[in-house]
């Protein structure tokens, strides 16, 4: 077709805007870009650059670090246990009816959304010399005097598994929920025994979830600070503790920068290795990894090749082992899955117990942290009611959280629209970049923002602190909203448009109202992130009023008494309330859908 014969139309503003739709579609991402570039990428670049003295190329700090004894061992244990203990729970969860699954997952969500600090505090109570474990052991006569559990590697691993295993369970669950269970039935009909069916059919299909969990838990574990700092001993120093000590106590900044850079590089290296096997989006939301969004990268080709090579060579061995295993565990794999339930129930007790211990302790009549409490009293609630410093901390936290949610919702939602709807290539890279603040260890971001805001003169200001919280909260908004916007039926906007609604009217009357549930979730999640945030706050707070986590942190370290459990109980109640409401809403939605489904069948 000859181009010259096609009549070129006079272009109106409308058409001009449409012609540049590609670029224009990215405009809503501007606030997100400013936040990510201005307060994430640049600060990180600054500390990496300074870690070798810039142009001086002085790598002395790196040489020193490599001689420091920093243990990655703990992270490896935590990852291993999170997967081994989490896999059966996720497996059972994914095979349950939606309603039962919602009930079971409530017991995972409540501890998951309870602040790290509170849970770590609970473990201090449980594992301490006067704790439940020691008291039980003595009562049973296994030991004569309390044994040392707190401040050992064991305590760190327990505390971290408690924090990270629920995250792993949900990551694996997201993958398992998409596995078609009929394939399992098909394999059994075709003659495979349950063990072989599991190993040859189910396990391979769930492996991407296991990989995603391993990656996620590992990168979170190597950057952990709170749990090792409170539960560990001197032998368990994690690299983030090293960074805090170097930069806040010893004031050896180059060493801190170098440690942070190493931690950053280690995280990126793990992510890079993982990306060869699984789409990285899978770790934060399984929906992002649906076919059509990630394209051909969905298939875990690397994993498949390795597995293929392995299974070809070891096939006869497998067969013998599988048959032997079936003889052994066959009776356990009964239809009613009794053993899966027993295991899952044990795990749920493990996850919920610390929360319950805290609640019980808050009614203690003793001035000391002993468990079980010698008697009932409301004294700690009375103290809490009169404690002006706790009230001030709560108000400070609410203020910072509210501001961070506002910034995060605007930047994250607008950014999610741009990322999902822009026709431009490279969206996936931008999406991963917008997730990166929650991927890299918080300590690295905290240190980077500290140095950077100090240079900008923002350190110790409300603006500086809110920005820090917003950088951490926004990625969650992006994840939630991107998935919501992707699921949003655009013909609704077309319908509004063709029937006379202008773009602003469409946004106000159609798009935003329909996305309201997702906006609520995103806002709550963002608030929770800010409300629990400790490390960034430690670095950026300056002389601002203490937030709740800071107040908590100081009290745990300097005045360990049951007042903390009263304060914790109040927060736990809020979490139980929020989780309860959202789970109840999900249940109601499922029921309504069931009713509607029947109704449609009747009218059809």
């Amino acid at each position: 077709m000859d181009v010259a014969t096609e009549r070129v139309r006079p272009r109106s503003v409308w058409q001009y805007l449409r012609a540049t739709a590609g670029l224009r579609s990215l405009a809503p991402a501007a606030p997100l870009a400013i936040l990510l570039v201005g307060f994430f990428l640049i600060p990180l670049t600054v500390i990496v650059w300074d870690s070798f003295g810039g142009l001086a190329l002085d790598f002395a700090s790196y040489r020193r670090i490599l001689t420091e004894p920093v243990y990655f061992k703990v992270s490896a244990y935590v990852t291993l246990f999170s997967i081994l203990l989490g896999y059966p729970v996720a497996y059972l969860l994914s095979s349950l009816k939606p309603r039962t699954a919602i009930v079971v997952s409530t017991f995972l969500l409540i501890p998951l959304f309870t602040a790290f600090l509170i849970r770590t505090y609970a473990w201090m109570v449980i594992l301490g010399r006067q704790g439940i474990v020691n008291n039980t052991l003595i009562w049973l006569g296994f030991v004569d005097e309390p044994i040392q559990i707190l401040n050992t590697t064991t305590a760190v691993v327990i505390g971290m598994v408690h924090v990270l295993a629920p995250i792993g369970i949900f990551t694996m669950y997201a993958v398992m929920a998409q596995i078609d269970r009929r394939l399992v039935a098909a394999a059994q009909v075709l003659g495979a025994n349950p063990v072989r069916t599991f190993l040859r059919v189910y396990l391979p299909m769930s492996l991407p979830g296991v990989f995603a969990t391993a990656t996620l838990v590992l990168i979170m574990a190597i950057g952990f600070y709170i749990t090792p700092a409170l539960l560990g001993g001197p032998a368990d120093t994690m690299i983030s503790q090293l960074i805090v000590v170097q930069t806040t106590t010893l004031l050896n900044f180059p060493l801190g920068y170098a440690s942070a850079t190493i931690l950053l590089l280690a995280t990126l290296a793990i992510l890079f290795l993982a990306s060869l096997f699984i789409p990285l989006e899978m770790m934060w939301s399984a929906h992002e990894a649906q076919p059509g969004t990630g394209g051909s990268r969905i298939r875990p080709t690397g994993a498949r090749r390795v597995r293929h090579a392995l299974s070809a060579g070891l096939s006869p061995v497998f067969r013998v082992v599988e048959n032997a295993t079936f003889r052994l565990v066959g009776p356990l794999m009964s239809e009613r899955r009794i053993w899966q339930w027993v295991f899952t129930a044990t795990m749920l007790v493990f996850f919920v117990a610390p929360v319950i211990v805290i609640v019980i302790l808050s009614f203690s009549s003793s001035p000391f942290v002993t468990f079980p409490p010698p008697g009932f009293s409301l004294q700690w609630y009375e103290k809490l009611y009169r404690a002006a410093d706790w009230h001030a901390a709560l108000i400070a936290s609410l203020q910072i959280g509210g501001a961070a949610v506002a910034v995060g919702l605007v930047a994250g939602t607008a950014g999610a629209f741009a990322l999902v709807r822009s026709p431009l290539r490279g969206k996936r890279a931008l999406f991963l970049l917008s997730l990166s603040p929650i991927v890299i260890p918080v300590i690295v971001l905290a240190l980077a923002l500290y140095i950077y805001e100090a240079r900008l003169g923002l350190l110790g200001s409300y603006v500086g602190l809110v920005i820090g919280h917003a950088v951490l909260a926004t990625p969650y908004v992006v994840v939630v909203m991107a998935s919501a916007v992707r699921g949003f039926d655009r013909t609704l906007e077309h319908a509004a448009s063709v029937h006379g609604a202008r773009p602003a009217t469409i946004l106000r009357r159609v798009t935003l109202p329909i996305l309201k549930p997702a906006l609520t979730t995103a806002g709550l999640l963002a608030f929770l992130i800010s409300f629990d945030e400790l490390l960034v706050t430690i670095f950026l707070l300056g002389r601002l009023p203490q937030t709740l986590p800071i107040k908590f942190w100081n009290d745990i370290k300097y005045q360990f008494d049951p007042l903390l459990s009263a304060a914790s109980t109040v927060i736990i109640l809020a979490v139980v309330f929020a989780v309860g409401i959202s789970q109840w809403l999900r249940l109601r939605r499922i029921k309504r859908r069931a009713v509607l489904g029947n109704g449609q069948e009747m009218t059809a």
């Binding site: 009549r7 039926d489 609704l492 509004a496 329909i514 309201k516």
Partner: protein
Amino acid sequence: MSTSLVLRNVSKVYGRDGRAVSDFSLDVAPGEFLTLLGPSGSGKTTVLKMIAGFETPTAGEIELGGESVVTLPPYRRGIGMVFQNYALFPHMTVFENVAFPLSVRDVDRREIAVKAREALALVHLEEFADRYPTQLSGGQQQRVALARAVVFRPRILLMDEPLGALDRNLRERMKTEIKRIQRELRMTVVYVTHDQDEALTLSDRIAVMRDGRLVQAAPGPELYNRPADSFVARFVGESNIFDCEVVADGAGARMLRLPNGALVAAPSAAGEVVAHRLMIRPERISILRGEEVSGAALSGRIREAVFLGETTRYEIDAEGLSLTVKDQNRGAAPFPVGAHVALTWRPDDAVLLSD
């Protein structure tokens, strides 16, 4: 209220994907029910999107009531539209959905109430005004979508495969409903479908599309009886199509030579073209017992017979040609498989195709 629609040399080219619509021209008269019919990927939905304003033509002109609308955004075109999945706003009640086109135009509140009730009455859904779309059946949702699309008396109504998601019985009922409402409101309608039955039942005129081009635009009977080419012939109704050659017999009459060598009388409309294709509808072929019947076009053997109720459908081998014949059941015993039969048709029931 109704308006004419003119599409002139409209083309749409997508980035690298290529041409979705090529040089498409069509005039739709005020009050006309026009259907765009074609298989998926034929560009019919793209044409509809360009009329609505969701897509801008790469070239060409679109006029509503004599005015160009190409530069107008959708919300200024004054169009009503029913979408394939209805696109009802899930957070609004049925009433609010229907009132939407009026409320975004800042119509007076009382007037909105009156007009929305009227539109709901038109589709017999007055008592469902306070329900939410998810509480309605598919057919009811469909009618809400229709009420919303006509409540503000749009200049033209667009419908994008509106019956695709309904089951068969409901589809039949909705066809009648749509036709009734279009007549009552005397509205110009552009309707998109890939279903020939829908197109034939509803339309004043059908525009058949293929690969982004308009193949033929004509009223249903003409499309069926005089298809422009073998694509239209195959897409609308069943057909037997053979290559053929125009030859003169001994007496100088023009005859058609079929691929198996048989000579049949040419339809009177046969032109001077040398190579042709011949199309004959299965129900236009008469089927007679016996091998030799004088004047018969072809003789053959029944390969398969399927009883369909009002007709019996035969697959027949006729000396190397395979034909489908539909025979009205008038009480006579059907021909058994293997029977030798003679086939005949009136020369003017056959159509010579241009491709």
